[in-house]
Structure formats: structure tokens, C-alpha cells
């Protein structure tokens, strides 16, 4: 064969011509044989028949001859023949194909989606940012506290100059701004950044420029901003002339100098940032003012990129050296302060850490679901191969080699896998942003997760799906083509209801499905109980009707004195509203994204150990706050109007704080210092939970708002016996009566505020419930399939039983009992597995034991009930058999 001939084999007409030539040759052979017979004296009719008989099966001869053709062109044609045949077979049984594709799509899609979310958030949380695997977050540490803190600007700048292990430092501190107008203020989320931000992360603005060196220092000196693609699109109608326009943040005009590309969402997991401003503008966004010169003001959320080849621990070592130097050099501000670096998946500043355990659970669950799906596919393919047993044996008898038949069946499996995989990728694609949907908007801002797909993960999942389906096609193919001719044609499996070898394989697969389904359902049951417990947990204050809304006077240009007057006036008016029982102001809001104010304290009579720097959270409140929120006052008194800014400073401490610093004595009358001001303790209140429902009791104390004025406060009010919603308009009206230019942020009940903070748990519950339900359906379907098949295989035996006098209800009982036996075994296996594995959920469960009997019991009941239901239809069909027809089957 010359090269030319080989290549020409790829042309379809060349291949056809060769086939036609061979056909002609065979025809001629037959004709000559017939002619010879006639010449020898046979009758023409006999000659024809004998010649044909001697010749044999023309089609087979031709096929065997063509099989000898070796060129790749032929190989390709054989493949496409197989593919076309496979597609035809799949089209012929649409239900089977649809079910199999749906199963694969679900399993592969769910897996690809969850795994790439996890990998994405862990390894590449910031879309559009380059070399994220070398980025680390930089936080401050305090001796005596396990909480991480932020750094101060001067410390951070010194750190960035003092190391060689990093090739870039930048700051991106989350902040908010208000676009005012109308009844409600619109909240934007953005970041305060260093001037080198965009260069350091490798993001080139789509329009305009980033920030110039030096634009990040100088109080208020550089009112410029870069806005996000979405803000540009939604607010400015994608105006191409946007560079140079003005936008007002908190009533301060800023010039837009650039727009970021669409896929870039900033450097904070969980929010889509809408704007970036240089740090020099800090005073516009932070009511406590410009802090870039203050070494003790800690607000910086910093990042750095490790130089290539430098490990995290090496970087940390260098950082520690610098931190030690700063501590020695600036003893006043930095005593007891250290610096710690974190890889991005442990970033203390954003939501990545809270998500991680949830996503881990999600990954495991998706993996389990994939196994169940594979089991289902295996079952389906096995059934199909068995159902086609007669067809296959006839083809085998006609001369098809076993290899050919296997090739056929495997091709079908691969095609099915390919279709299912494509569908799965599609599912994964459209679920791209659904993670964000699980998070309720907080403070009016939607959480967004830039789920960049991790293609290696997707690829691995796809390979797994394809591989497993092919394997599952291969096994039944080998199985059914091994059949001995006559045996298979009799199509009678040995035994009947009990199954036989093939029945055993299918039963084993269904066992796997049922037990895994049980495990998933138990997991979701535990998660649901945990979430319910969490939502019902008592935070220590009355949350049901207490409503709160933020009022930012800073935005409206108030200073503290004017804010004082505003607050007093408003409080008077709100309290006067008829249906309001109590109202108060506070500077901090529980369960909000912004942590409570925190500061270093000194306690009279308490000597901190050498390296300890006591700090505590504090909240500035008006008199009546505790009554409004239902926080019990244990000892002493509440703040009063007499605790004004001219009176002696006072404080109220929480119970835990009282016990920590004044262990064996009453704190009442003792003194406590915050930032240089000594205050006397006048009361003790019960502890509350304000960071998370699972937090331990914290060091928290309260000061009167009159003695710690702020321009950003939250209003709390408790309506008297009526729905809070009806009271809100009156409150808004009262605000506008005082100043029509001030708009509050949205009003929510504290209950809702707490609910929003449990979104991580909610994801877990949703995922587990969804997957658990799917697993249940698949297991039930699998069981139904097995029982139906067994019944159909044992029709004759059932007929015999009927003929010998069995009643239909006895047959029903027979079938149901065999199905139930299978189900019970599966459930038992599932329970055993669950007992072992749910321990892994341990720390994610809130006040629920991993072996909670209620959950286990209800899952057992559900699974058995569902199994019963799936057996009933085939059993009913069995009981309705006509004995004569059954015997003849």
C-alpha cells in the first residue's frame, strides 16, 4: 500500500468504491459457482440454492474481508459506524437515555460546581488578580488575645520597607460609602487602597488609569476614585466618557479616573467591590478620621506577595524580626504587638474562612452523590445489557465476534457518558453564581463570590464521570457476551425471586445506593436540626420585635455637637410615637459585618502580666438601651440623663468582664480606663452574643453615648405589641422632621439580623437537603428497577405458584418481602456507615449530637417507607398475573 493509497482511504468515496468492488467480486464468485453446477448437470434452482449454501453468508464474508483492511481511514469508518449505531440504540429507548443523562448531569455538575467553588475560594478567591497563590494577608496580633487585629498605617509602611521576602505590599481595606437621595440611602461597598494597588495585583483598568504614586497620602488631598465595571454599567449607563466625571461618596465629590475590567471584583471574598479610593481619602469614609499618621490607630487590612521560592514560614520569620524591631522602637504604641501572615484561604479579613468548613462538607456530599449516581448508571446499563441478551446472542450466532459486540456496547456507554458529561458541564456553568444566592443580602449589599472555575478540578470530575460510565458499560458487556448460546436464548435466569448471579450484582448496586442515601439523609437531618437550634439560640437579648436601622450623620456633614442635638431630638420624637414601647441609640450593632469598637483598657486593681495588653469591646449607648433590647440589668443602675458629657465618666460592664477583672468582689464603684479616660463602674448587665451565636462570652462594656459621641449610630426601637413594619414609616417621618436631608439605612428586626449571619449554616443545610433528596429518589428508583426486573424474570415461577394455588395477596407479600429485605439490609449498612462518618460533622453541628436518635429514627422510617412504596407497583403487577400467560412466558 503506498502512502497515496493510504491517505486516499480517508475519502469516503474511495472507501465505498473498495466495498463495492468487493461486493461485485463476491457476486461474480457466486455466479460462477452456480454456472459450474448447472454445467455439471444440476437443476438451475438447485444449483442456485446449493451454490449459495456452499458460499455461505455473503454479508459475513464481506464484513470479515473488510475487517482486514488496516488503514486508519477504515478504522475511523468503523468507529463512526459504531457511534451511529450507538446513537440509534440510545434514541430507541428515550426514557433510559434521559434518566441516565440526567443522573450523570446531576452528579458531574454538582461535583464540578462544588469542587471548583471550594478550590476557587481557597486558591483563587480574587478573579482577575495575578499570582494569588503567593499572596498572603497581614494582620496584627496582640499578646493576651487570640483575636487577630488590624495594623496601623505607619507600622505597615515600615514593615513593607523592612523585608526582602516579599515583592509587593498593598492595602485594601473594606469600606462603605453612601450615595444619598430619596427615601433611602444607597450603600456602596468599596476599598481603601494604597496607590500601588492595581499594579501590585496586576489589574489594568479597562478605562482610564489606576492611582499614581503618592496619591495615597495627604489628608483628603487626592479625591480620585476608580469604579467597578458594574457600577459604571448600572449607574452611569456605560458612558464611555466617564473618566473625569464626578461621583459623591458621603457627600464628598471624587473624580473618576478609571474603570476596572468586568471580571475583577476587588480583593475581598464575598463582596463585589464597587469602588476604590486611595487611603488619603480615609477621613471621608471613616467617621473617626484620618489615621494615616497615627501609629496606634489600627485599621489596615494589608496583603503582600511572597517572592518566588519563599515559603510562608520564611516570610513569617522575616516579618517577626521587623515586628520585634518596631515593638522596641515604638514601645508606646506597639508593646505586645506582633504581625502574622496568612495564606489567602485563612484570610482573617473576609468571608473565606467562614465558608471553608461548609464547602468542605459540600465537597464530600457532592462526592457521595457522584458515587450514588455512578451506582445508578451502572444499574441502568446492566439492565439494558441484560435486556438485550437475546439480541446479542443472535448476533453472536450470526457471526459477530465477541470483541465486536463488546466494542459496540462500550461505544454506547461512552456516548452516553459524553452526553451526560456535556450536560453536567452545562449544569456546573449555570450554577456558577448560585453560591451567592444562598447568602441573604446584608446591610442592603448582595454578597457575590467570584467563582472562577478551577479547570483542573472540572477536568478531573469529567474524567471521573467518563471513566466510571465506560467502566460500567464494560462490565455488563463482558458479562452478557459471555453467555453460552442456548442458555442465553432460553432467557431463563436460574432461580427466580431470589435472583441468581445477575440479580445479585444489581442487588449489590442497589444496596450501595440505599446505604449512601441513608448517610446523606442523616447528614442533612443533622444539619437541619443544627440550623434550627442555631436560629432558636438565645443571643441574650430580645430579638423578635426589636427593630434597628443605621443613621449616618457623618455622611450628611454633621459634626459631633450637631449630632448630639440631632440624636436627642430624634429620640424624643421616636419615643413619643404612640405604638413604640422603647427606643435607644447605640454606636454598635450586634451580628453586623462591622465588629464592635475595641480599645485597650486598664483596670484599677488589676495588674496585667508583663506581655499582656488587655483590650475590650465597647458600645456607646443611650439610657434605656438595655430595656429596649431586653438585656437584664443584674446589679447597679442603667445610665441616666445625669450622665452627661460634663459629668463624671461612668461605665456598665458585662458579667463576664466583671468576673474576669474583679473576680471575688463587686465591680460597682471600681474604675476602668479606656484611652486615657477613667470611668467608674455603675452597673453590671448579662452577657450577650453579638459576633456569632457560637461565640464564648466576650469582654464587653458600655459607656453613655453622651460621653462618647459619634456621628454614626444605630437606632433601636421596640414596638408595643404590633408589627414593626407598621411603625417604621412613622419613625422615618420623625427623622425627616428633624432633618429632611438625613436618610436612614434599611430597618430590620434583630431577628433578621441574626438570621443573616447564619448564612454559612444555611448553605450547608440547603446543599445537604438537596443532595439527600436526590439520593433518596435515586435509591428508590434503583430499588424499583431491581424488583421490577426480578419480577419480570420470574414470571414463570410466579405462574407456577399461582397454578399451585397461591393467592394474589401471597404473591404480593412474596415480592414485597424480598424487596423489603434488600431495603433493610441497605438501611442497616447506611446506619452503620453514618454512625462512623457523622462524627466528622462534629464541630459544625450546634447543640446536636452526631448520633441524634430523632434524626436517625426518622431517616430509617422515611427510607423504609419509600422502599415499600417502590416495591408496591411491581408487587401489585405480580399479583395480577394471569397464570396461563405466565406459564407460557
Amino acid at each position: 500500500m503506498s502512502i497515496f493509497e493510504r491517505l486516499s482511504e480517508w475519502l469516503p468515496w474511495v472507501r465505498t468504491r473498495r466495498g463495492d468492488e468487493l461486493a461485485e467480486e463476491l457476486r461474480t464468485h457466486l455466479a460462477m459457482a452456480e454456472a459450474d453446477r448447472v454445467a455439471r448437470g444440476e437443476q438451475p434452482a438447485d444449483a442456485a440454492a446449493n451454490a449459495r449454501r456452499e458460499f455461505g453468508n455473503t454479508a459475513l464474508v464481506r464484513e470479515l474481508s473488510q475487517d482486514q483492511w488496516r488503514g486508519p481511514g477504515f478504522w475511523f469508518e468503523r468507529l463512526s459506524q459504531d457511534v451511529r449505531f450507538a446513537l440509534r440504540m440510545l434514541r430507541r429507548s428515550p426514557v433510559f437515555t434521559a434518566v441516565a443523562v440526567a443522573c450523570l448531569a446531576l452528579g458531574i455538575g454538582a461535583n464540578a460546581a462544588v469542587r471548583s467553588w471550594t478550590e476557587g475560594i481557597v486558591h483563587h478567591p480574587f478573579p482577575g488578580v495575578r499570582e494569588q497563590d503567593r499572596l498572603v494577608a497581614i494582620a496584627g496580633t496582640v499578646k493576651g488575645s487570640v483575636e487577630d487585629d488590624e495594623m496601623s498605617w505607619p507600622d505597615f509602611i515600615d514593615l513593607s520597607h523592612g523585608t526582602t521576602a516579599f515583592d509587593a505590599f498593598f492595602v485594601s481595606k473594606i469600606t462603605g460609602a453612601t450615595l444619598t437621595g430619596g427615601d433611602r440611602a444607597e450603600r456602596l461597598v468599596g476599598q481603601l487602597v494604597t496607590a500601588n494597588y492595581f499594579d501590585a495585583i496586576g489589574v489594568r483598568p479597562m478605562l482610564g488609569r489606576g492611582f499614581l504614586p503618592g496619591e495615597d497620602v495627604g489628608r483628603g488631598a487626592h479625591p480620585v476614585t476608580v469604579i467597578s465595571y458594574r457600577l459604571w454599567r448600572d449607574h452611569f449607563g456605560s458612558n464611555p466618557q466617564i473618566v473625569g466625571s464626578t461621583i459623591n461618596y458621603n457627600s464628598a465629590p471624587h473624580t473618576i479616573v478609571g474603570v476596572t475590567p468586568p471580571e475583577f471584583l476587588g480583593t475581598f471574598v464575598g463582596y463585589a467591590m464597587q469602588f476604590w479610593v486611595p487611603a488619603s481619602q480615609q477621613a471621608v469614609f471613616d467617621p473617626s478620621g484620618y489615621k494615616l499618621d497615627d501609629r496606634s490607630a489600627r485599621w489596615v487590612e494589608g496583603f503582600a506577595r511572597l517572592s518566588p521560592g519563599i515559603s510562608v514560614s520564611a516570610g513569617q520569620a522575616e516579618v517577626n524580626v521587623v515586628a520585634r524591631r518596631l515593638e522596641a522602637q515604638f514601645a508606646n504604641d506597639d508593646r505586645g504587638r506582633g504581625v502574622r501572615i496568612f495564606p489567602l484561604d485563612q484570610n482573617p479579613f473576609d468571608n473565606a474562612k467562614t465558608l471553608e468548613p461548609m464547602l468542605r462538607v459540600g465537597s464530600i456530599v457532592a462526592g457521595v452523590l457522584l458515587v450514588i449516581v455512578c451506582a445508578n448508571i451502572a444499574n441502568l446499563l446492566l439492565v439494558r445489557a441484560l435486556a438485550r441478551g437475546p439480541e446479542l446472542t443472535v448476533r453472536h450466532a450470526l457471526g459477530a465476534s465477541r470483541g465486536r459486540l463488546i466494542r459496540q456496547l462500550v461505544t454506547e456507554g461512552v456516548i452516553l457518558a459524553a452526553i451526560g458529561t456535556v450536560a453536567g458541564l452545562f449544569v456546573a456553568y449555570i450554577s456558577r453564581n448560585t453560591l451567592g444566592l444562598f447568602f441573604a443580602p446584608r446591610g442592603g449589599v448582595n454578597l457575590v463570590f467570584g467563582a472562577d472555575y478551577d479547570w483542573t478540578v472540572v477536568g478531573a470530575t469529567v474524567a471521573l464521570g467518563l471513566g466510571s460510565t465506560t467502566l460500567f458499560a464494560l462490565i455488563p458487556a463482558l458479562h452478557s457476551t459471555r453467555a453460552d448460546l442456548a442458555f442465553a436464548l432460553r432467557a431463563a435466569a436460574p432461580g427466580a425471586i431470589r435472583g441468581g448471579q445477575r440479580g445479585r450484582l444489581r442487588a449489590a448496586i442497589v444496596l450501595v445506593q440505599i446505604s449512601l442515601g441513608v448517610v446523606l439523609l442523616i447528614g442533612s437531618g443533622l444539619a437541619i436540626r443544627s440550623l434550627r437550634g442555631l436560629l432558636r439560640a438565645n443571643p441574650g437579648f430580645s430579638s423578635a420585635r426589636v427593630t434597628t436601622g443605621g443613621i449616618n450623620l457623618f455622611v450628611a456633614g454633621y459634626d459631633t455637637a450637631r449630632a448630639h442635638r440631632f440624636e436627642d431630638d430624634l429620640l424624643r420624637r421616636v419615643r413619643a410615637i404612640e405604638r413604640i414601647g422603647a427606643a435607644a441609640f447605640a454606636t454598635n450593632l450586634p451580628f453586623s459585618t462591622r465588629p464592635y469598637d475595641n480599645g485597650p483598657i486598664a483596670v484599677d486593681g488589676y495588674a496585667p502580666s508583663r506581655d499582656e495588653r488587655p483590650t475590650a469591646d465597647y458600645n456607646a449607648v443611650t439610657p434605656g438601651y438595655f430595656a429596649t433590647l431586653g438585656i437584664p440589668l443584674r446589679v447597679g443602675r442603667d445610665f441616666a440623663a445625669s450622665d452627661a458629657d460634663t459629668s463624671a465618666p461612668v461605665a456598665i460592664v458585662s458579667r463576664a468582664m466583671g468576673e474576669r477583672y474583679w473576680p471575688n468582689t463587686s465591680p460597682i464603684g471600681r474604675r476602668l480606663q479606656l484611652r486615657g479616660t477613667w470611668m467608674r463602674v455603675v452597673g453590671i448587665v448579662s452577657d450577650i452574643k453579638y459576633r456569632s451565636l457560637t461565640q464564648p462570652a466576650s469582654m464587653l462594656f458600655y459607656v453613655p453615648l453622651a460621653q462618647q459621641r459619634s456621628t454614626a449610630v444605630s437606632l433601636f426601637f421596640r414596638p408595643d405589641g404590633t408589627n414593626a413594619v407598621r411603625v417604621v414609616p412613622a419613625v422615618v417621618a420623625a427623622i425627616h422632621e428633624v432633618d429632611p436631608n438625613v436618610s436612614p439605612y434599611e430597618f430590620v428586626t434583630l431577628r433578621e439580623q441574626i438570621d443573616r449571619s447564619t448564612s454559612g449554616q444555611q448553605i450547608m443545610v440547603t446543599l445537604l437537603t438537596l443532595f439527600g433528596t436526590v439520593a433518596l429518589c435515586l435509591a428508590v428508583l434503583g430499588l424499583y428497577g431491581v424488583i421490577s426486573y426480578v419480577v419480570s424474570q420470574s414470571t414463570r415461577e410466579l405462574g407456577v405458584r399461582l397454578a399451585l394455588g397461591a393467592t394474589p395477596s401471597q404473591l404480593l407479600a412474596l415480592v414485597v418481602s424480598s424487596g423489603l429485605r434488600l431495603a433493610l439490609t441497605g438501611v442497616a449498612l447506611g446506619i452503620l456507615t453514618a454512625l462512623v462518618t457523622t462524627r466528622l460533622l462534629g464541630d459544625l453541628l450546634f447543640e446536636v449530637s452526631p448520633r441524634d436518635p430523632v434524626v436517625f429514627g426518622s431517616v430509617i422510617a422515611v427510607m423504609i417507607g419509600a422502599s415499600l412504596a417502590s416495591c408496591l407497583l411491581p408487587a401489585w403487577r405480580a399479583s395480577r398475573l394471569d397464570p396461563t400467560r405466565a406459564l407460557r412466558a
Partner: protein, 120 residues
């Protein structure tokens, strides 16, 4: 495909042997498929009756290996037939196989003789 023949008259040949037989038959001149069947049958004294299901695949195989070539011609009955002939490579292969067969035949013939009496 399977014709029920009495077991004795159906000799199962190895694939390589069939190829050899065909090459040998073509040594005496080009031939078409049917003619080959006749030739082999008559030359072997009706012992070797090659089935079409073996012949044609073998012919295709030999063509793939460039041991024979085929061209269309006209038979004496004015039929369009495909005629096969040996290539030089085919001839060489045939010569090698022949000598191998002869060696084998001699060896087996030797075994058919009673063993020489051992000199004590």
C-alpha cells in the same frame, strides 16, 4: 456460516497455512477468487476445500501486506473478474515458506520411520 461437515473431512488450518496455500496456488499464474478455490481443491485431490469466509479475508490480508496485487480483468466467460498475482515480495515470502514446509515435512517423515536399532 458453519456447514455441518463430518469431522474427518474438515481440516482446521492455521491462518498462516492458508496464506501459504494461496501464495503457492498463485505461483502457477494469476487467478481470480473462484478459480483459486477450484485450483486448490483439484491440486490437493479434493482434500482442501477453502471456504469463501476464509479465502476472501485472506486475500485482503495478503493485499494489505503487499504479498499479492489485484487488478480487474475479463474472464473467458466475459465476466468482469478481479485477478490476483504474486508480487516480488510475495515470491520471496513464498520461497521462505516453502523451505520451512520442506524442513517440517522431512522432520515428520523421519518420525514416521521406525527408530534405528540401537547399537548395543
Amino acid at each position: 456460516m458453519a456447514r455441518k461437515e463430518p469431522a474427518t473431512s474438515r481440516i482446521e488450518l492455521l491462518q498462516g497455512t492458508l496464506d501459504f496455500i494461496i501464495l503457492q496456488a498463485l505461483r502457477w499464474g494469476p487467478c481470480h477468487g473462484y478459480g483459486l478455490v477450484q485450483l486448490i481443491r483439484s491440486q490437493s485431490g479434493n482434500v482442501l476445500q477453502v471456504e469463501t469466509g476464509s479465502l476472501y479475508p485472506a486475500l485482503q490480508r495478503l493485499m494489505e501486506h503487499d504479498a499479492i496485487t489485484a487488478e480487474w480483468g475479463v474472464s473467458d466467460m466475459d465476466r468482469r473478474v478481479r485477478v490476483y498475482r504474486l508480487t516480488p515480495a510475495g515470491r520471496k515470502r513464498l520461497a521462505a515458506e516453502r523451505s520451512r514446509w520442506e524442513q517440517l515435512t522431512q522432520a515428520i517423515a523421519g518420525l514416521m520411520q521406525p527408530p534405528a536399532p540401537e547399537e548395543a
